[in-house]
């Protein structure tokens, strides 16, 4: 995965979204967002919900001892993570360290989706957040980029 690819795409797309404030309706969705939504509905919505609402009781372990799929909308914590981290979670999958099972509860999509497609999904997720959350996430992404940039 080329990690420098991520910030480059983001320089353009957030600007389109920030300008409008509320998420744009489907008629005027930027192309990346529309594509991201399509991919989300195909690969992600079955677990994370069609509106990004997540599983019920997502913040407590389920009967298998696994943390259930969290929401991606404003009630969840996806907006707490930098673009680089979101990219990594989709590409490499994720197992909560305190899960009682060993499997990747969140599967890895790096063999299913291209880097570009993963990026489109993140663009779509961004439309599910509040303005404040988008600002917070943008700052997180900048802080991480600065921390990882060679000085």
């Amino acid at each position: 995965m080329n990690k420098w690819f991520v910030p480059l795409v983001l320089l353009v797309a957030p600007a389109l979204l920030m300008a409008g404030g509320a998420p744009p309706n489907s008629d005027s969705l930027p192309t990346e967002v529309a594509k991201g939504r399509q991919i989300y509905e195909q690969y992600c919505a079955a677990c994370h919900g069609w509106q990004g609402e997540g599983a019920a009781n997502w913040n407590k372990p389920d009967e298998k001892g696994e943390m259930p799929p969290p929401p991606h909308d404003e009630t969840g914590h996806t907006w707490r993570h930098s673009d680089a981290m979101l990219f990594r979670m989709i590409a490499e999958g994720w197992r909560h360290p305190f899960n009682k099972t060993d499997r990747l509860a969140m599967p890895a999509f790096e063999d299913t989706l291209t880097d570009e497609e993963i990026q489109w999904v993140i663009e779509y997720l961004r439309t599910l957040w509040t303005d404040d959350q988008r600002r917070y996430q943008q700052n997180e992404s900048q802080d991480i980029n600065q921390a990882e940039s060679p000085s």
Partner: protein
């Protein structure tokens, strides 16, 4: 005495001693400049005997109305206490007496000039008054009288700090270590640096009398942070032996707990009562609210570099309900295991980060799996503080003021004995 004629005497303070000196000097023909930085008058009238006796007299009368030896003949009743009105009555009386005993007398004394401000000596015959209303005034004097009251002080005697004193019986409020591994011990009496050979005081940062230093953290670069309600957050520079306030961008000083990032020297966390969780990524220059925090108030705070986080580590918050845990992205606060009770101290073993220790009601609890399960540890005293020392491993502070660590056979033994 003729030699007193035309003398100009500077009197600093306006309490009992200063007033007596000023009046006697005036009686003997001197000119007096009396300087007071606060309220005119002494402790007794303003903040001591008078206001406290008014309240104790009111309390006594309330008691007699509720219960007296004459309840058989005089009906008893529980009075309704209006504290605001009592305070108003108390204050009115204080002001009457202040006027009668100090202000009125000073008004009538043409030989005494009163300056409201803070005096500072320039040399043996001059002082400068920083006036409360703004500006400065120079006062040239022939003689000066300092009547500003007294406060207890420890004499500067080598070795005194190591002597058995009342301080040793004070509960340890917080523990940390410095870069050399010496223990930093916070008690009500102050902050002590202690290693196997020496002990020294670190004066606490300047603050209002209501400040309660109670939380210490060591940064990833070994710097020391101290915080508490009324104090805010301060960083100590070992080289210059100075405290630096980190409070410029905090909404108020009501910090109950701080934590320093385990590996990022500039990242700090603070819990501000109802204000929630704040984070600084520039060493305390700018604080940003990042989260509301767990549902219950936080009393102890820890950042750990235990593996498995989505970001750079984990946050453990000791609340009034137990231990709450979140990745340091503040995803969400969940219960760390089933441990229940008000947590007053928390720490972890940096060399084995899954090992977390928490104190509830003086009892020490240990988790070897990052807070999933806990077991109680037997320990001979009630514990009030925790830290990890590179030399001694887990060090605990007790309510009796002792410092204990475990020896090779696992027994708790006093540190540095």
């Amino acid at each position: 005495m003729n030699s007193d004629k035309n003398l100009h005497i500077a009197v600093i303070g306006s309490g009992g001693a200063a007033m007596a000196a000023a009046l006697k000097a005036a009686e003997r023909g001197a000119r007096i400049t009396l300087i007071e930085r606060g309220i005119i008058g002494g402790t007794c009238v303003n903040t001591g005997c008078v206001p406290s006796k008014i309240m104790s007299r009111a309390a006594h009368i309330a008691h007699l109305r509720t219960e007296s030896p004459f309840d058989g003949g005089v009906s008893a009743q529980i009075p309704k206490v209006d504290r605001a009105k009592l305070l108003q009555q108390q204050q009115t009386r204080v002001e009457e007496l202040r006027d009668a005993k100090y202000e009125g007398i000073l008004r009538d004394q043409t030989a005494i000039t009163v300056l409201n401000g803070e005096a500072r000596f320039v040399d043996a015959n001059n002082l400068v008054v920083q006036l409360n209303e703004g500006g400065e005034q120079n006062v040239h004097f022939d003689r000066a009288f300092i009547g500003t009251g007294a406060r207890p002080a420890e004499p500067s005697i080598p070795g005194l700090v190591q002597a058995e004193s009342a301080n040793d019986a004070q509960a340890v409020k917080a523990l940390a270590t410095d870069s050399s591994g010496a223990l930093l011990v916070l008690r009500d009496s102050g902050l002590l640096v202690l290693d196997d050979k020496t002990a020294a005081d670190i004066p606490l940062p300047p603050s209002d009398s209501g400040a309660q230093p109670r939380s210490m953290a060591k940064g990833a670069d070994e710097r020391l942070y101290l915080a508490g309600p009324g104090l805010g957050i301060w960083r100590y520079e070992y080289a210059s032996e100075r405290w630096h306030s980190l409070n410029d961008t905090l909404p108020d000083l009501g910090i109950t707990a701080i934590a320093a990032h385990a590996t990022q020297p500039e990242t700090l966390y603070a819990y501000l009562g109802e204000g929630g969780m704040f984070r600084s990524r520039d060493g305390g220059g700018e604080w940003v609210k990042v989260d509301g925090g767990p549902r219950e108030p936080v009393q102890a705070f820890l950042h750990s570099d235990m593996p498995g986080s989505m970001e750079s580590g984990w946050l453990f918050a000791g609340t009034t309900r137990g231990v709450a845990r979140s990745m340091d992205c503040f995803c969400f606060w969940g219960d760390a295991g089933e441990l229940r009770g008000a947590v007053t101290a928390i720490d972890y073993d940096p060399s084995a980060p899954e090992n977390v220790y928490a104190v509830i009601e003086g009892q020490l609890h240990h988790s070897s799996d990052g807070g999933e399960t806990w077991v109680g540890l037997e320990i001979p005293q009630a514990i009030t503080a925790l830290t990890f020392s590179p030399k001694e491993g887990l060090v605990v502070g007790t309510e009796n003021g002792d410092l204990l660590s475990r020896n090779a056979s696992g027994e708790w033994v006093p540190v540095h004995e």
